[in-house]
């Protein structure tokens, strides 16, 4: 028994442990066996649908390219620790970081750059901008083991990109139609920065939650806005005027022409009627000149006498001439009083 055993000193030291092991094995060898199997299987990992996993074997990444390193969702077979370590990275998850380094703080009265965030535009105006960046992991291994802290690098890169992009645009473009271009340029710069920092991250969107001139200048900027709107309104009103004035002129012109046409038609038909009447009269006249002439003359004289305001009769002249005859014609209003006798007809004494 001794020849196969360990040296007596070691044997004596190990005796309690050996005794414990023997007792444990005898009582629960099934349990021990099951635990050993479980340990051997402990490297098998489930990778969820929004994750990829990489395997570290003795601390070193398995696979040479990102494509070979990263394992998609499903079961992943790996050795148990300490040989393999599986690192799962949620690559589909989109993280958000709010970047307020260039935004205004509550202290409106100071413009100390330490407390108050702002940026200079290309034409040296001051604007304040509040941003929200959304990003996700692009290279799981690089991000997990070599990349800087995601929020730190995002804040720094977004601020730098925005400072630079604002610095090349005028304030009016920034605040009006250049906003989309500003965001596009800044996003491109952020991505370039993230790549240069080996962050393994990808910016998915950059949103400007606030972009405005400082509060102290808000009224001045509003005044420009309202002047612009006022100018547009004046133009619209002028256009509306033009749109009514021209058709109105057209209508007047059309009416004039139509009236002229109607009048001419009337005049022509009247002329034709008169001409026919004259021809008829002329025919009658040729047949009985004296009778027709007499009738026409008498008709006209009667009509003239009937329509005249006043008719006075004077006797025929004596000896061929009138001597001392005075005729007073009263004004139209006093016509009723007028008398044929010159002496009596005068109101004045």
């Amino acid at each position: 028994m001794r020849k196969l055993g360990l040296p007596s000193e070691v044997g004596r030291l190990a005796a309690p442990v050996v005794g414990l092991l023997d007792a444990a094995w005898q009582r629960m060898h099934w349990w021990i066996g099951a635990m050993a199997v479980l340990y051997l299987l402990s490297g098998i990992t489930i990778v969820r649908s929004d994750e990829v996993a990489v395997i570290l074997r003795w601390g070193r990444l398995v696979g040479d390219t990102p494509g070979l390193r990263e394992h998609g969702p499903g079961l992943l077979f790996a050795f148990p620790r300490p040989v393999d370590r599986v690192v799962r990275v949620p690559v589909k998850h989109v993280y958000e970081v709010s970047v307020g380094t260039l935004a205004s703080t509550d202290e409106e009265f100071t413009f100390d750059p330490v407390t108050q965030g702002y940026a200079l535009t290309g034409d040296q105006n001051i604007v304040q901008v509040n941003m929200m960046a959304r990003y996700r992991v692009r290279d799981a291994a690089e991000w997990s083991f070599y990349g800087p802290k995601a929020d730190d690098i995002l804040r720094a890169e977004v601020t730098a990109a925005m400072v630079r992009s604002l610095g090349e645009m005028g304030v009016d473009r920034v605040l009006a139609d250049g906003r989309r271009e500003l965001v596009a340029t800044a996003t491109r710069r952020v991505q370039a920065g993230l790549d240069a920092a080996h962050s393994g991250l990808e910016i998915s969107s950059l949103e400007l939650t606030q972009l405005a001139p400082p509060g102290a200048l808000a009224t001045d900027f509003d005044a420009v806005q309202s002047a612009f709107i006022g100018a547009e309104t004046a133009k619209k009103e002028a256009q509306a005027f033009a749109e009514t004035a021209i058709p109105a002129a057209q209508a007047v012109a059309d009416t004039t022409v139509q009236t002229a046409r109607a009048d001419s038609a009337g005049a022509i038909s009247k002329a034709k009627g008169d001409a026919e009447a004259f021809l008829a009269l002329a025919k009658e006249y040729r047949a009985n000149p004296a009778v027709v002439r007499e009738r026409l003359y008498r008709d006209a004289v009667e009509k003239a006498i009937a329509s005249a305001g006043g008719v006075r009769w004077i006797p025929p002249p004596i000896g061929g001439s009138y001597h001392g005859l005075r005729i007073t014609i009263a004004p139209a209003g006093a016509r009723a009083k007028s008398l044929s006798d010159p002496e009596g007809g005068d109101d004045r004494p």
């Binding site: 050996v18 023997d22 601390g59 070193r60 750059p113 702002y118 290309g122 105006n125 001051i126 997990s144 083991f145 070599y146 802290k149 730190d152 690098i153 720094a156 730098a160 400072v163 610095g167 090349e168 240069a196 920092a197 080996h198 400082p214 102290a216 001045d220 900027f221 005044a223 420009v224 002047a227 006022g230 100018a231 002028a238 256009q239 033009a242 021209i246 002129a249 007047v252 012109a253 022409v257 002229a260 001419s264 005049a267 008169d274 001409a275 026919e276 004259f278 021809l279 009269l281 008498r298 008709d299 006209a300 003239a304 329509s307 005249a308 305001g309 008719v311 006075r312 009769w313 004077i314």
Partner: protein, 300 residues
């Protein structure tokens, strides 16, 4: 009984050797994970750095021991530094660097802990920024003219002037330097505000003037057009009336030519009718028609 005894012996041997192996492994293996570096020290003196991830070996404690360094990249943002540009303008700038441990030995010796890196970098970067921005105009930083802007160049200069020093002195590898703040001293901000206000007022006035001018142009054009249309209508009217007058004249002339004598007679009768109105007083001799008829009856 003998089988059970043999199994127990085997088991003892396996468990014993495994325990021994684990102890030896723990004492001599250095497992370097990705993103780490192990610095192996012999009796406290650093002897080598293993930057390659994987399994490495050392002599057991107390001869060798391993210090692990985090090789991840880190972001350090400097404080705000006021400086003067070449065109003598005060600006306040801030930079950030992305750095990592470049030389683990030098890094541990120079800085010891990782927290100290920031302070050293701050001074280095502030000096570099003051020097380099002093060689550029403010328009190299902010300008609407792309030809003026020299940000890429400035950042490259900052990197080239700091990274060799950082590497040599502190074992820090600087990978990226960017300006992430360009501001003005507080006392200059008011001047900028005044300038911005003046510019806004100018814009407002210009918009207003332009709007008024444009509106009056549209209006006067419309009025001109309307007048032109009306004139055209009047012209057409004159033409129509002229034509019809001619036709009327022709019609009358054609009829009257058949008997000019009768025409003259009827025409003078018409004139008489037209001339004698309510406001006319007729003075007739009693021996004229038709009164003469009465006389002739009375007289004989």
């Amino acid at each position: 009984m003998v089988d059970a005894l043999r199994t127990q012996r085997w088991l003892r041997a396996i468990v014993g050797s495994m325990a021994l192996a684990a102890i030896v492994f723990h004492a001599t293996a250095v497992v370097v994970t990705e993103g780490q570096t192990a610095l192996v020290t012999r009796f406290g003196r650093p002897v080598r750095a293993t930057t390659r991830a994987g399994l490495h070996w050392k002599l057991p404690w107390p001869i060798d021991s391993a210090i692990f360094l985090d090789m991840r990249r880190r972001v350090y943002e400097t404080g705000l530094t006021e400086m003067l540009t070449r065109d003598k303008k005060n600006v306040i700038a801030r930079t950030f660097v992305v750095w990592r441990v470049g030389d683990p030995l030098a890094f541990t010796q120079a800085l010891g802990s990782e927290g100290a890196a920031g302070g050293k970098l701050d001074g280095l970067l502030a000096n570099a920024a003051i020097g380099i921005l002093g060689g550029h105009d403010l328009s190299a930083l902010v300008s609407t003219n792309p030809a003026d802007l020299q940000m890429d160049q400035i950042e490259a200069e900052l990197l080239s002037s700091t990274s060799p020093v950082a590497m040599r002195s502190y074992g820090v590898a600087i990978e990226q330097i960017r300006l992430n703040r360009i501001a003005l001293p507080e006392q200059n901000v008011n001047a900028v505000f005044e300038q911005m206000r003046a510019e806004r007022r100018q814009f407002a006035a210009r918009f207003q003037a332009e709007g008024e001018r444009e509106a009056s142009r549209i209006r006067s054009e419309a009025e001109l057009e309307a007048a032109r249309i009306r004139a055209k209508g009047a012209e057409e009217e004159a033409r129509i009336r002229g034509e019809s007058a001619a036709q009327v004249a022709r019609t009358y002339a054609d009829a009257h030519r058949t008997d000019p004598g009768l025409y003259r007679f009827t025409r003078s009768l018409e004139s008489l009718d037209k001339l004698v109105t309510v406001s006319t007083s007729l003075i007739l001799r009693t021996d004229s028609e038709p009164f003469s008829l009465l006389q002739s009856k009375d007289k004989p």
